[in-house]
């Protein structure tokens, strides 16, 4: 029955098509709708009178002179300084991905090349750490961070996110490195390389597919995090996701909901582009852990 779509009876074919269309609408429509609505004013996107207002935007035309308005974006980016959050997110993501890949590749490589029993226990410990909800750790951070004036800075958050990211990064890279034949670096060592030289000259050139996939997931974790960033960053240093949450908290006045809508669209757009380019890597990353086990 698999890959034999031609052999499927017509009724089954139709119901499959209907189901796929149904699922695609569920999956994609909310995003398209929000993108569309972000160019309207609140009275249209949240219309009490008629939902069609969101499509034809009579109030937006009446107030702004056109069916589309960039007011939400202007309000979010300029008035509410969303650009600051964008810069903060960029910095956090860049350093989180860089640092966690650097220390993660070293650790993951070591785990895949050592045959002693303790590697197993280290992986198990990492698995236990992976299961901890990040928010449960925050109470443990706050006291020392206040005491030593570390609270609120981007650097502190980067280090915390790197650490929280490590268990997952280690597991993933460990399984990628295991697929690289051990003979490669063994023969380099026979030729007189130290372990580090073997890693540097033989492994690094061939490890990039695995590293890029792992990097994507590190990026997603840093980009999407709310629990840690909302707790550990001061107002000025907030990244995009906690910034959007603070839009929601402070305001329900006219227009401000549209700031949040515009900010949500601005945050989601880079992810769309990322999925477009790296779809295959994301899929292989999701299945890497599963197929192996």
């Amino acid at each position: 029955m698999i890959n034999h779509s031609l052999k499927l009876p017509i009724s089954l074919k139709v119901s499959i098509s209907i189901f796929i269309v149904f699922w695609l609408i569920i999956a994609a429509f909310p995003f398209i709708w929000t993108l569309w609505g972000s160019f309207k004013i609140e009275a249209d996107f949240f219309s009490k009178a008629d939902w069609m207002n969101a499509l034809f935007a009579p109030r937006t035309i009446a107030e702004k002179g056109g069916a589309f308005t960039g007011d939400g974006y202007y309000g979010a980016w300029v008035q509410e300084n969303f650009w600051q959050a964008v810069i903060n997110t960029t910095l956090v993501c860049f350093f989180v991905v860089g640092t966690s890949l650097t220390i993660g590749t070293l650790g993951g490589y070591a785990l895949s090349r050592s045959s002693y029993k303790y590697t197993f226990w280290l992986l198990i410990t990492a698995l236990i750490f992976r299961a901890m909800p990040p928010i449960t750790l925050v109470a443990g951070y706050l006291l020392p961070f206040y005491e030593w004036n570390l609270w609120g800075h981007l650097a502190t958050t980067v280090i915390v996110l790197v650490a929280i990211n490590q268990p997952f990064t280690l597991w993933m890279l460990h399984s990628f490195f295991q697929k690289i034949p051990k003979e490669l670096d063994e023969s380099a060592k026979v030729d007189g390389c130290t372990q580090f030289q073997a890693f540097r000259h033989v492994i690094i050139p061939v490890m990039w597919p695995g590293v890029i996939t792992t990097g994507l997931f590190s990026f997603l974790l840093a980009y999407n995090d709310f629990a840690i960033t909302s707790m550990l960053l001061s107002q000025n240093n907030q990244t995009m996701v906690p910034k959007i949450a603070s839009f929601m908290g402070t305001t329900q006045t006219e227009g401000n909901v549209m700031f949040a809508v515009a900010a949500v669209v601005s945050t989601t757009a880079p992810l769309f582009i990322m999925v477009m380019f790296f779809q295959r890597q994301i899929v292989s990353g999701l299945t890497a852990g599963a197929v192996k086990g």
Partner: protein
């Protein structure tokens, strides 16, 4: 690899995890046993012609000094665990004695904040996990029978609900189900009730959060199962066909057993991940009707007064919960590893 080389390779990642995961876990256990110092109170006697009055004032300076010198507070043992905001030992005992039957007991327990959060977290975990497995499996089967050119596009759109931050995903849905949003108005129309609001009732709020949970998690099981379907043993399918198995029987007796390891993997991962449900509650502003354990901690930590001890206690209890869910995963990993080393 030699022990020494291994040590140096592993040191950076190990120290990051030790300092920022292991140490905080240790720290919250300690913190949960302490409570902030009470304010230092000075009793002064003021005498005037009409008699003497005792006045109590708070010695601000002494309080500040005491709190600064011992930031942890004073040791109270397991008191915080037993208080009304957490396990509520006394209240539970009272309810047990006063309640006539089990339904009444359950209802009264539901009024205690910690048990309410626990109830929602467990309901969410154990409904979303099976539903996302089933839904993801059906999508995988459907996509697998599509024409090759359509597969990539379908996968692209299917990934979206999973890839966006849970907070953003829930906000996007929240705006649509708002009573002035498109789905909200559609529901009002369908049920002919212009005042219908999903936000107003506890039951509907839970349903809404669960639907969100499935929407967010189904792509994960879909992708994993879809990858599994690519490795289906075609000859088994062929022989099942020759034996006269219907499509449903082929799925039930060949496909599902083949995917079983993946199903277990996804289920175990999801149990742990759904247990930490938190952002949707913020996104849907659902805290009046549904609170999860993680939200409970978040609420203690936020705001002007950061209730660290209380948050630490909830954290320890949550970690105990996660550990119970984690146990089957550990057993499975242990078995896998032993099988591999036996080979």
């Amino acid at each position: 690899m030699k022990h020494k080389t291994f040590f140096w390779f592993f040191l950076p990642t190990a120290s990051a995890m030790l300092l920022f995961i292991a140490l905080p876990i240790f720290s919250i256990v300690i913190q949960s046993l302490f409570t902030p110092h009470d304010a230092v109170i000075i009793v002064t006697e003021n005498c005037d012609p009409f008699g003497c009055k005792q006045e109590t004032t708070i010695d601000q300076e002494a309080t500040r000094d005491l709190r600064k010198s011992e930031p942890l507070g004073k040791f109270v043992g397991l008191e915080i665990y037993k208080d009304r905001g957490h396990l509520a030992v006394n209240e539970v005992k009272e309810i047990w004695i006063e309640s006539n039957n089990f339904t009444e007991f359950k209802k009264n327990i539901g009024n205690l904040p910690f048990y309410r959060a626990m109830a929602f977290t467990l309901t969410f975990t154990f409904t979303v996990t099976p539903l996302m497995l089933v839904f993801g499996f059906i999508i995988a089967l459907a996509v697998n029978s599509l024409h090759h050119n359509l597969k990539g596009l379908t996968i692209f759109f299917s990934l979206l609900p999973m890839i966006v931050s849970p907070l953003i995903g829930s906000l996007v849905l929240f705006w649509m189900i708002d009573s002035r949003g498109i789905i909200g108005e559609a529901l009002q129309y369908v049920f002919e009730d212009p005042d219908l609001s999903l936000k107003a009732s506890t039951g509907l709020t839970w349903v809404m959060l669960i639907v969100y949970g499935v929407w967010h998690a189904a792509p994960f099981s879909f992708v994993v199962f879809y990858a599994g379907l690519q490795t289906l043993p075609m000859d088994t399918i062929e022989s099942a066909k020759i034996d006269g198995a219907s499509r449903l029987q082929q799925v039930w007796y060949v496909v599902i057993p083949h995917l079983m390891p993946l199903i277990t993997f996804v289920a175990l991962m999801q149990l742990m991940d759904n247990f930490r449900v938190f952002e949707p509650i913020v996104g849907f502003s659902a805290e009046a009707h549904a609170q999860s354990l993680s939200w409970f901690i978040f609420n203690d930590l936020g705001g002007e007064t950061r209730l660290l001890s209380s948050a630490a206690t909830s954290s320890v209890l949550t970690i105990i919960g996660v550990s119970i869910l984690l146990f089957p995963v550990l057993i499975r990993t242990w078995r896998d590893f032993n099988e591999k080393s036996a080979k």
